[in-house]
Amino acid sequence: MSELVLQVKDLKVAFSTVDGVVQAVNGISFDVRKGQTLGIVGESGSGKSVTASAIMGLTNRKSADMSGSILLGGLDVLTAQEREIRALRGREAAMVFQDPMSALNPYYTVGKQIAEAYEVHHPKTSKKERRLIALDMLAKVGLPKPSECIDEYPHQFSGGMRQRIVIAIALVNNPRLLIADEPTTALDVTVQAQILDLMMNLQQEFGSAIILITHDLGVVAEVADEVMVMYAGQTMESSKVQTLFDTPSHPYTRGLLGSVRSLDNSERGALHTIAGNPPSMISLPGGCPFHPRCEFSASMNGLCATVQPTLRVLPATGSESACHLNDDQLLSLGLGVNHD
């Protein structure tokens, strides 16, 4: 197996708010290896972005209560000094945000913003060198006429072009890990595919590992190697991408796949068709967080409502699943999924 880039262990993130404590992430663990793409899927509010912020050390330690560990570049992000984390940002891990319209500083040319990111980790380079690097990056992310674009301001570009620029900023230091938090959600459908292609091509070229956060199982199917399905701040299932689609091993995953297949193209990937709503993160239901919406919970004699299932490996598929159903029951979940 290739080398570990990121190792998250039992990560918990809670925010104290006026309404109560929001348990946004509740004990998740995962590894990311060199060159690998991990997809994180889950409904809105399941804690995906909070996880991403925590990895980048962007969570405000004063307002959030965090535990567990996040090992990145030889440091534990949760306990490291701000100065040490700063040295990781951009080089060990870089980030692409959801909305390219607001992710770029409106007051500086895009060239300066790329050069600035490069300068953080290459402070001894000259302005001229950095400009050449920026030009090169603009060309790599496929902007037409880089030599003109470089002196233009963000508002002069379309959303898709801006997302390319954000990707250029993220990749300029050749990071070992790229975290993309719904990088295509805000874009037109046609542009979405281009941006994904670009990310995949650049991954080949730069060899970065990628964490791709998305609502869209279709996207995961296209680009990810591994998938982690999150619900209410917890991992429900984690498997190889092919396994997840062939033999989903968790009722929640099964629900998500069902919703993908029952939708027409225009709404592809929307996950809201599972009956019921995600739980409030302030007062989580006891037992399995999914039990109020799970069709199997009724037949489990109250077990699901009282005891929280832990992740276990299914020997038959190698998937991990957090569910009280037995192996055979879980394996039979996939039978209803049609593959056309």
Binding site: M56, L58, V120, H155
Partner: protein, 330 residues
């Protein structure tokens, strides 16, 4: 950018003309008879009528306005024969009650007002933005709370009361300062500061709280922007993010407000000048009101209006320079 500039300047020109017309009209439709003001106690009905014709107050308003404009451009002679007075360009009129050209009156009082405005402005900007930054960076903790309590107290003082209070504390009670009497800064810089420190403080205490809030709000707002988070995610130093990402966008709207406020303050700090008996434009206007001295009122109003228009223009130009979204594509 050139097109943007040209448009703004043309617009400011039109605005100035409108301001002059408007001011002129307001004071001509007032029930006060300008001719009756020309002779004071010595007035007789005959004399008033004679002066009315002599000074052109019997002419249609449009003619009077055109004469007024011509006076601004080329100077003007009021009356004729032995009672003739000439005011050089730009002439804004002649004050019969003060027996002087309005332009000279303004020229004499403007340095005082400008001194108050410059110093006060500098202090309130430094304190307003500085404390606003501290407030935003220490949000919710004691420095923020303290600053916000102090600002509310500052905001709740009426200007004249605050001015009197300062006067009482520093001049009458502790006698740290002499009673303010204006001297030119070129003559006696220290005396100038000494005379103006209390007016500056007054203006600062009244205006800074507003800037503290603007700065605090603007910074907190900007700190939540995605691009600020991206700046941090790039690995930039906290201070760099603050300077290049947060302050830049938080301060731009403040500069706009500040430009206008400065323009307004230059038009005369009426209460402050009155309490500290400083011979500025604010006091000139107040005196003109109580004397029904129309020419002076028209003059000071026009000058104050001009300052506002000019500073509005300057902030617009500034905006064009700092915000590429204004500069390009507009």
């Amino acid at each position: 950018m050139i097109a943007y500039l040209t448009r703004r300047i043309l617009f400011a020109g039109v605005l100035l003309l409108a301001v002059s017309l408007f001011t002129f009209l307001i004071f001509t439709v007032l029930p006060t008879d300008p001719a009756a003001l020309t002779c004071g106690k010595a007035c007789t009905p005959d004399r008033i009528e004679a002066n009315r014709t002599r000074l052109g107050y019997d002419q249609p308003v449009t003619t009077q306005y055109v004469r007024f404009l011509k006076g601004i451009v080329g100077g003007r002679t009021y009356g004729e024969g032995q009672g003739e007075f000439t005011c050089g360009a730009p002439s804004l009129g002649y004050s019969f009650s003060q027996k002087d050209c309005v332009t000279s009156l303004i020229a004499r009082t403007l340095p005082v007002t400008a001194s108050i405005a410059f110093g006060g402005f500098a202090l309130w900007i430094i304190f307003g933005i500085g404390l606003g930054m501290v407030s935003a960076l220490k949000r919710g903790r004691w420095p923020d709370r303290l600053i916000s309590v102090v600002s509310v107290v500052g905001l709740s003082f009426p200007t004249f009361f605050l001015a009197l209070l300062l006067l009482f504390i520093f001049v009458i009670w502790t006698q740290i300062l002499p009673f303010p009497s204006y001297v030119s800064p070129t003559e006696d810089f220290f005396g100038w500061c000494q005379a103006l420190i209390l007016p500056w403080l007054t203006i600062t205490i009244i205006s800074a709280p507003y800037y503290i809030r603007l700065t605090r709000f603007g910074m907190l707002e900007t700190m939540n922007e995605d691009y600020v988070r991206l700046g941090i995610a790039k690995g930039l130093k906290r201070w760099t993010v603050l300077r290049k990402y947060v302050l830049r966008s938080a301060l731009i709207p403040i500069v706009t407000v500040a430009g206008l406020d400065f323009g307004v303050t230059l038009g005369g700090a009426v209460f402050t000048e009155s309490v500290f008996s400083l011979p500025g434009m604010g006091r000139l206007s107040i005196k003109a009101v109580s004397d029904s001295d129309l020419p002076v009122l028209v003059g000071t109003t026009l000058v104050a209006g001009t300052f506002i228009v000019v500073f509005n223009l300057l902030t617009d130009i500034f905006y064009g320079f700092v915000d590429p979204r204004v500069r390009i594509h507009k």
